[in-house]
Symmetry: C2
Subunit: 512 residues, 2 copies
C-alpha cells in the first residue's frame, strides 16, 4: 500500500482510529467465518448447535456495534469529507468507501434485531437441512417466514429507490436494481430459450450415458487433490472439505476454505464443484497481502466473485482444451471408466444441456433460467406479492414455465438451496451476473492472450492465473464492480458476450 | 438450578449484571475454544496462522477485559459480601466463586500483556511443531524463553505464598502448593522406583512383541469408532479427530471435541489415547445442562479432569475385565493380528512397564516419573534456578536420574510436549494428580458397586458412567476439587490408594 504521508493531523488521527476499528471488526469476522465454516461443513455436533448459535449471535452483535459505533461515525464524517478524502491514498479511500456503505446501510438497525436474526438463521440452517432430508417444506415454513419478514424490515432500514428488493440487491452488487436486472434477464432469457429449443431439436445429442456409472469416492477425492495445485490453488493457504452445498470462504488471504460434494453415481458433481469453488478460492488467495485484515480484503462483489468461479468451472473447465490437457490424467485416476470414450465425446458430454431440477447440477445454459426463477420469487416475496406458504406451488409453476419440467418433491424443488436459510435474499442474481461478467472478461483475456486456447491445452494455467491476479484478484475491493469491469474490459456489463459465447459453444456441441 | 427468589433488590441486580457478563465471556470462550481446536487439530493452513493468531489475541483481550471490568468488580463486591453471598443458591455461589478467583488473579495484569502473550503462544505452537519435526531445540529457545519470562511475571501478578511456582499450580489445582506436591511426589517416587526395580528383576515379562506389527490405520479408526458409543460417548454431542498430541476440549456440553493419534506401527497408541480423551469427554458432556454457558461448566479442576481420563484409560481400560468384554471385538476388527494371543497375554502386554522416552506413550507406572521431571524443571525455571538454554541437558540428566535412560534426540526429549508452547506451566502435575485422584475414586466406586469387576466384564459401562455422572460429572465446578474429593471418597487426597493399586496390578502382571 502507498503511504498517507501528507495527511492533516485530524485526518491522520481519524484514519488511525478507523484502522483500529477496522482491525477489530475484521478479526471478529475472521472468527465468525471459521464458525460458519464449521457449521456448514457439518463439523458442529447436533447438540452443540443451539449453544453455538447463541455465541455467533453475541459476536455478530459486537461486530455490528463496532460498525455503527459513534466512533466509526465520527471517523467516517472526517474521512468522507471531500477535502479530506482526496488526501487519502487509493487503498484508504476504498476502505473508507466500503465502511461508509456498510455504516449507512446498517446504522439504523437496532443491534437486538441483528442479534435475533443471527440466532434465527443459525438455527434455520439446520431446520432447512432437516426439512430437505425429510422432504417436508412445512418444517421450514415458519423459519423462512420469519427470515422473509426480517428481510423486508432490513430493506426498509437500508433504504432504496423504486422496488424494496433493490435494497437487498445492492448488498451484493452495488449499483444494481430491478430495472437493470429485468432488462439483462429478459434479453438472456429470450436467447436462452431460443437456443434451448434448437438444442432440443438437434439430432446430435452428447452421450450422457458415459456418466451413468458409479465411481469410487476415494478415487474422486484423489483426482480433486490432484487438480487443485495444478490450478494454482495453494493448499498451504487453504483446504478442501465436503458439505451438502459446496461453498468457499476466505477467512484471510492465507486461510481460504472450500468444500465440494462427492456423488458416487455422478463424477461430474465433485469435479465441477471443486473447480467452481477453486475459482472463488483463487480470488480470495490472490488479493494483495497488504489488504489482508482490511475492509478491502475479498472480492469486489458477489457478481465479480462468481465470475471467477464460473470462468474456471465453465469457460476453462468445460473446454476441449482443458480436457486435452487433463483427459489422460482423468482416465488414469478412474481406470477403465472412460476407456471407450474419446476426448471429444467426453467434452461434448460435459456440455450436455437439458432442463433439470437441481440448480447446482444444472448445465451452463439452463442454469441462468434457474436463477431467474429464484429472482422472481425473491422479488415477489419482498414486494409482498407472494407468501412463503405458497412457495412450493409457485416454485413448481415457474419451473414448468421456464424449463418445462416440474419437481416431484420439494427436496428437488423449493427446498434445494441453502441461501434463504441464512437470509441471502438478493444473492441469487449474482450467479447469473457471474456468467455475464465471466464471458465479458473472457472476451478480453482472449484478446490479450491471443494463444489462450493453446495455453490451456498446454496446462499453463499459471499464465491465466497471472492475468487474473494482475487484472482482478490483487485489487480485492479496491474498485467497485462497475469500475472494475470497465477498467478490465473497457465497457459496462452487458449480455452480448455471454449470448455469443453460449451460441458458439452449443453450436459446436450440438452441431446446430 | 434452584431459584434465587428471595434476593434483596441490589443483590438481584448485581446477579443479573454478573450473569450478563458471564454469558458474554462464555460465548467468547466457546468461540476461542473452536479456534484452538482448529489450530491444534491441524486444520488451520500454515499461511493462515499468523492472521489467526492476531484474531485470537483480539478476542482473548476482549474476554480478559470483560473479566476484569469495573462492572465485574462491582458485581463481585456485592455478591461476595458474606450477608449477600449466603442469600445465593449453591450454583450462583459457585459461579461467583469461580469468577472471583479469576478476577483476583488477573485484575492487575495489563490487557496488553495478555494480548501479547496470546499472540506469542499462538505462534509458538507452530514454532514448537517445527523445532520438534526438525529436532532442533534452538528454533524453539527464543519463544520458550519469552514464555517463561511471561510466566514469571504472571506469577508476580497472581500473587503467592512461598514459592512463585505456587501461583501457577494454583491455576490448575486450587489449593495446591510446592510443599504438598513435594510430599505426595516423594512418597510416590520412592514406591514407584522400588516397584520398578522388582518389575525389572522379574523373569515374568509380558510379551511386548505382540504389538510389534503394523495395523492398517483405517481399521484402527473403525475400532475407535466402534468403542466410543459403547463407552457412552455421545457422538451427537461431540466428535473425534486426529492430532499430533491428543486432546479434548468442551466447547459446550453439546460440543465436546477429542483428538487421537494413529500409529500404524503401534495399535495401542490410538486405543488408549482415545479412551483417555473419552474420559475427559464424558466429563464435559456429563455436566448438568443448566450449567452450560456458565462459569461452572466444565471440570472441577485439571487434576479431577485428569482423574476421569486416567480412570477410563488405565483402571478400566487396562483391566482384564475390560478386555474380557472387548477382546473378541478387537480380534474381529484386526483379523489375524491377535489370533495367537490369549486374552491374558494381551492384558499383561498392555500393562507392560519399562522406562521409555515419550511421556504420552509411557506406561501407567513410569508415567508419574515423567511428570516429576517436568515438575522439577518448571519449578526450577520459574524459581530462576534453570535457564531455557540449558533445558536439553537438564532434561537428559533427569531422565537418566529418574528412569535410567537418556534420549538420543531432543524430539524424543525436551521437545516432546506441547504444553509449554501454550504457556501451560503448572499443568503437568495435574496428570499425576489425576492418577492419585483416580485410584482414590476407584477405591470408593468398588465399595459402592461391589460387583464392579463383573459389571465391566459384562460391558455394562452405563452403570459405571451413571455412578460418575451422579457423583462427579454433573456437578461441573460446583465444588472445589478439595471439597469434591472429600464428598466423594470421604478423605483428602493422598498417595495410599494409587500405591496400593499399582502394587496390586504389577504384582499380578509380573507375578512378583
Amino acid at each position: 500500500m502507498s503511504e498517507n504521508q501528507t495527511l492533516l493531523p485530524d485526518v491522520a488521527s481519524a484514519l488511525e482510529s478507523f484502522t483500529h476499528l477496522e482491525q477489530k471488526i475484521m478479526h471478529y469476522q475472521q472468527l465468525l467465518g471459521l464458525v460458519q465454516w464449521d457449521l456448514q461443513s457439518g463439523g458442529t455436533p447436533r447438540k452443540g448447535q443451539a449453544s453455538r448459535a447463541e455465541a455467533i449471535g453475541a459476536l455478530t452483535a459486537d461486530t455490528f456495534e463496532l460498525f455503527v459505533s459513534e466512533e466509526m461515525g465520527a471517523c467516517l464524517d472526517v474521512l468522507t469529507k471531500p477535502e479530506n478524502n482526496q488526501q487519502l491514498d487509493a487503498e484508504s479511500r476504498a476502505r473508507v468507501r466500503v465502511a461508509k456503505k456498510e455504516y449507512d446501510k446498517t446504522k439504523n438497525i437496532p443491534s437486538s434485531m441483528n442479534r435475533e436474526f443471527s440466532v434465527l438463521t443459525a438455527k434455520a440452517h439446520h431446520i432447512w437441512e432437516e426439512a430437505r432430508s425429510k422432504n417436508q417444506f412445512s418444517l421450514y415454513e415458519e423459519s423462512l417466514t420469519k427470515i422473509v419478514d426480517f428481510q423486508r424490515q432490513f430493506a426498509e432500514y437500508y433504504g432504496y429507490e423504486g422496488h424494496p428488493y433493490n435494497a437487498l440487491l445492492n448488498n451484493y452488487e452495488p449499483g444494481l436494481n430491478v430495472e437493470k436486472l429485468d432488462l439483462l434477464f429478459s434479453d438472456l432469457r429470450q436467447k436462452t430459450i431460443q437456443l434451448l429449443d434448437r438444442i432440443q431439436a438437434s439430432p446430435h445429442k452428447p452421450q450422457k450415458e458415459i456418466f451413468e456409472q458409479k465411481i469410487n469416492i476415494e478415487q474422486q477425492k484423489e483426482f480433486n487433490k490432484f487438480i487443485l495445485p495444478k490450478l494454482n490453488f495453494d493448499l498451504d493457504a487453504g483446504r478442501l472439505d465436503e458439505s451438502v452445498h459446496p461453498f468457499a470462504i476466505g477467512l484471510s488471504t492465507g486461510d481460504v476454505r472450500m468444500t465440494t460434494r462427492y456423488l458416487e453415481e455422478d463424477v461430474r458433481s465433485a469435479i465441477f464443484s471443486t473447480m467452481h469453488e477453486c475459482g472463488h478460492g483463487l480470488y480470495e488467495q490472490g488479493v494483495h497481502a497488504d489488504y489482508n485484515g482490511t475492509f478491502i480484503q475479498g472480492g469486489a462483489s458477489m457478481g465479480i466473485h462468481e465470475s471467477q468461479s464460473r470462468f474456471l468451472e465453465n469457460i476453462v473447465g468445460r473446454s476441449l482444451e482443458f480436457w486435452t490437457y487433463f483427459y489422460e490424467d482423468l482416465k488414469a485416476h478412474f481406470p477403465q471408466h472412460f476407456d471407450q470414450v474419446s476426448l471429444e465425446e467426453f467434452t461434448r458430454a460435459i456440455n450436455l444441456s437439458e432442463p433439470s431440477l437441481i440448480r447446482v447440477e444444472a448445465d451452463e445454459l439452463t442454469y441462468n433460467l434457474h436463477i431467474m426463477i429464484r429472482y422472481e420469487i425473491e422479488k415477489g416475496l419482498i414486494g409482498g406479492q407472494y407468501e412463503v406458504k405458497d412457495l412450493p406451488q409457485i416454485w413448481n409453476e415457474k419451473m414448468q414455465d421456464y424449463l418445462g419440467i416440474t419437481p416431484s418433491t420439494d427436496s428437488e424443488g423449493v427446498l434445494q438451496d441453502v441461501h434463504w436459510s441464512f437470509g441471502g435474499f438478493g444473492y441469487f442474481p449474482s450467479y447469473c451476473l457471474g456468467n455475464l461478467y465471466a464471458a465479458q472478461i473472457a472476451h478480453t483475456i482472449k484478446q490479450q492472450i491471443p494463444d489462450f486456447d493453446q495455453v490451456i491445452a498446454n496446462g499453463e494455467f499459471d499464465k491465466i492465473r497471472g492475468w487474473l491476479l494482475e487484472n482482478i484478484h490483487q485489487y480485492g475491493k479496491l474498485y467497485t464492480p462497475g469500475d472494475l469491469i470497465v477498467k478490465v474490459t473497457g465497457e459496462e456489463l452487458n449480455a452480448k458476450y455471454l449470448v455469443e459465447y453460449l451460441e458458439q459453444k452449443y453450436t459446436e456441441v450440438y452441431k446446430l
